[in-house]
């Protein structure tokens, strides 16, 4: 009776194992249809500690393997209370959109490859964009590409298929520590300093929505 039970248990385990494999395969297949290959996304930097008022230059890097990268639409998030975006600099890609949302600690960049010779399209570890963050308050902030199904997109040159999308297989970021400044650097005044407000002014001439 014991032998039969053991045998039955083994059969069930084996069936479960095979079933699991089938499900994994199916899952991989479905992801494979959504994009023809995968890419690892990283935020990297030579430094991880800065003083308030100083900047930390980071690069967003895509490890594309043999895929030829043609474009990206990425959102990078950071702690808005510790850092602010000081500079966004293109690399070999033309930036067609840079959207800094300091209020929510996000920056969106859309870049496209220049040139029309596929032999020159970059593969391997490709630097997509450089972003300098300025430390504004003490503490630690992660800088990482935001994850989410519809948040990011990468495209590659796929001459033989309709699918130009590259799947993102992993995301990694850095932790930046901001310390109290040793030699303070004045923060430049906002470029747009034109005070306005909605509402009713004391004069009826200015009634607005």
């Amino acid at each position: 009776m014991k032998k039969i039970s053991k045998l039955l248990l083994m059969v069930i385990l084996a069936a479960g194992f095979v079933g699991g494999l089938i499900l994994i395969k199916r899952n991989q297949d479905s992801r494979g249809r959504a994009s023809y290959s995968g890419v690892d996304l990283m935020v990297v930097s030579g430094v991880t500690k800065i003083n308030i008022g100083r900047t930390i230059p980071v690069a967003v890097v895509a490890s594309t393997g043999t895929n030829k990268l043609t474009g990206f639409d990425l959102t990078i998030k950071f702690d808005k209370t510790k850092l602010r975006v000081a500079l966004v600099k293109p690399t070999t890609f033309e930036l067609v959109l840079t959207e800094i949302d300091q209020n929510n600690g996000k920056i969106r960049v859309v870049g496209i490859v220049e040139g029309n010779n596929p032999d020159n399209f970059l593969t391997g570890a490709v630097r997509l964009v450089r972003i300098d963050f300025e430390g504004i308050a003490e503490g630690s902030s992660q800088i990482i590409v935001e994850s989410g199904v519809n948040t990011n997109a990468l495209t590659g040159y796929n001459p033989n298929g309709d699918d130009q999308g590259l799947g993102i297989t992993s995301i990694s970021g850095i932790d930046c520590t901001v310390s109290e400044t040793v030699s303070p650097i004045s923060v430049p005044a906002p470029a747009l300093n034109f005070e306005t407000k909605e509402g009713r002014d004391s004069s009826e001439d200015y009634v607005k929505k």
């Binding site: 800094i100 040159y157 300093n193 005070e195 407000k197 009826e204 001439d205």
Partner: protein
């Protein structure tokens, strides 16, 4: 040869001295002199939005700081239009408050006329009068029935008009300012905008018959303004689809029909060269801009549609999106219609603002250069040969030439009309049927011809939606890149390119320009 070289050298030096720089600007149609914004902007934000003019419901560019330096630059007055509110009719009896308010208008007018070249300037001198006399809490101060409301509006606006004309006899008055063509009038049942327009003209005849200055409305007004928000079907069924756009320019056409018919009846003539301004347009829906939902996309469609409709309307002379500013730090900043939101006086453009800066869609036209310009040197800077013509910031720009030079706000810009230059013959003359809810495209926007269109209901491919998924994003670019490479390898004119957005049978940089202008 030597002379030619010297000329080139001279022009190069001039360009350097003037800060001339090559600049390819995202978006097309940015030089529309019709396009404006309703809200408190400064020159910088106005330029970012690629708008030609603005108003802020007040008489000065910065209504909160009358003596602020920016109030008095020629640049800002090239773009700004003052607005004067009406005066409460209950004060018609001549009480002190009423007299003070009229004196207030006079003193503000004197300030405008003494410190700028705005008054008596044929190219400028516009004044908006009234702001939603039919809407409670706006210019409608009293009056619980339609008749009272109209009488009060006529009295107020007449008084304001008189004070302006006394200081600036050549003033061009844009009057009325009805809140919304379709919206129900708060608590005045059964009243339509048509009733109000007719009542306004009738009452003007009655109320001001004995006034030597403003008796004849046809001589007083230079045009009319009103607001366009949600349409009837949207207002009564909110939550369904607020991307619905007015059918062509039916609304402004109907507006003018009513006005002109009534003007002929009461005054025997219509306003000569009358103008029609849509001084506010948009939606009253609250769609937070952080929420990139399908609803938000419909909202953007509405913006595209309204801009393109009014830009191409032969009867609308100006239009302005509401709203270009926001409460400092208020939650409303990140919501609905704002082109900008602010935080500690730092202004950030929203997704709507970014979109607005690229509208209207005129894919064949692109702004190639932008730089400082000093009057007569404009032509030389734009390449010479008389191709560059100076246009004031207020003049309607009709791009019919290869290159024009825009001298608004002392800036010189060159529009390169690539479509005009190459003039590809359309391979099909079939008139396209606009897709409901999609962008209304009219001349000179390329329309679907022999290209493979997206299925019905999907945003038109002519904007850059190569894969017909309803979005214009990096995946469409990737298709363009793939097809561009294929086209370069075998340059055949075909009608089934997915990324041939301008339907010329080729996959070129012009298609990329269209994608760039519309990608979100």
């Amino acid at each position: 040869m030597k002379v030619k070289g010297r000329v080139i050298l001279f022009l190069a030096v001039i360009c350097l001295l003037m800060g001339w720089k090559a600049e390819v600007v995202r978006g097309q149609g940015v030089l529309s002199s019709k396009k404006g914004v309703a809200g408190p902007v400064n020159s910088q934000r106005l330029e970012t939005l690629k708008a030609s003019w603005f108003f802020n419901w007040g008489p000065f560019p910065d209504p909160y700081h009358e003596d602020a330096s920016e109030n008095w630059t020629a640049e800002i007055w090239n773009s700004f239009v003052p607005l004067f509110y009406g005066i409460a009719a209950r004060e018609e009896g001549g009480d002190t408050a009423f007299q003070n308010r009229l004196a207030n208008i006079t003193s503000k007018m004197q300030k405008i006329c003494s410190r700028t070249d705005y008054c008596s300037n044929p190219a400028k001198g516009y004044y908006l009068i009234g702001n939603e006399p039919d809407v409670k809490g706006q210019d409608r101060l009293i009056g619980s029935n339609a008749a009272d409301m109209v009488i009060n509006a006529v009295k107020r606006q007449g008084n304001v008009a008189k004070r302006i004309l006394q200081e600036d006899p050549d003033a061009k008055l844009i009057m009325m300012g009805w809140g919304d063509w379709h919206r129900k009038i708060d608590d005045v049942a059964g009243t339509t905008t048509e009733d109000l327009i007719k009542g306004y003209i009738t009452q003007w005849k009655t109320q001001w018959a004995g006034d030597s200055l403003i008796a004849n409305l046809a001589n007083v007004a230079s045009g009319w303004h009103f607001h366009v928000y949600d349409e009837d079907e949207v207002s009564t069924n909110r939550g369904s689809d607020y991307s619905v756009c007015p059918s062509g320019d039916d609304i402004p056409r109907r507006f003018l029909e009513i006005v002109n018919s009534e003007m002929r009846k009461k005054f025997g003539k219509v306003v000569m060269n009358q103008e029609l301004w849509v001084t506010e347009m948009g939606t009253l829906w609250n769609v937070p801009y952080e929420t990139q939902t399908a609803e938000r996309e419909k909202f953007k469609d509405r913006m595209r549609c309204l801009v393109n409709v009014f830009e191409n309307s032969p009867v609308v002379t100006r239009y302005a999106w509401f709203y270009a500013g926001c409460d400092n730090g208020s939650a409303v900043c990140s919501a609905r219609y704002n082109l900008y939101y602010s935080n500690n006086s730092v202004y950030t453009i929203t997704d709507l603002g970014r979109l607005y800066s690229t509208l209207p869609n005129m894919p064949n036209f692109s702004l190639r250069y932008s730089g400082n310009c000093l009057g007569s040197s404009c032509d030389a800077q734009c390449g010479g040969g008389g191709k560059c013509r100076k246009i004031t910031g207020m003049e309607l720009i009709k791009v019919k030439e290869n290159i024009v030079c825009w001298d608004g706000a002392n800036r010189c810009s060159v529009i390169e009309n690539s479509g005009f230059a190459s003039s590809p013959t359309p391979r099909s003359t079939t008139t396209p049927t606009p897709t409901p809810g999609a962008n209304l495209t009219s001349t000179p926007v390329p329309t679907e011809q022999n290209c493979t269109p997206c299925s019905s209901g999907v945003r038109l491919k002519s904007l850059g939606n190569a894969n017909c998924d309803g979005k214009i994003n990096i995946f469409d670019f990737a298709i363009w890149k793939k097809e561009r490479i294929a086209y370069l390898g075998d340059p055949q004119t075909r009608d089934n390119w997915k990324s041939d957005f301008n339907c010329d049978g080729k996959v070129t940089g012009d298609d990329l320009t269209i994608w760039k202008a519309n990608q979100q």
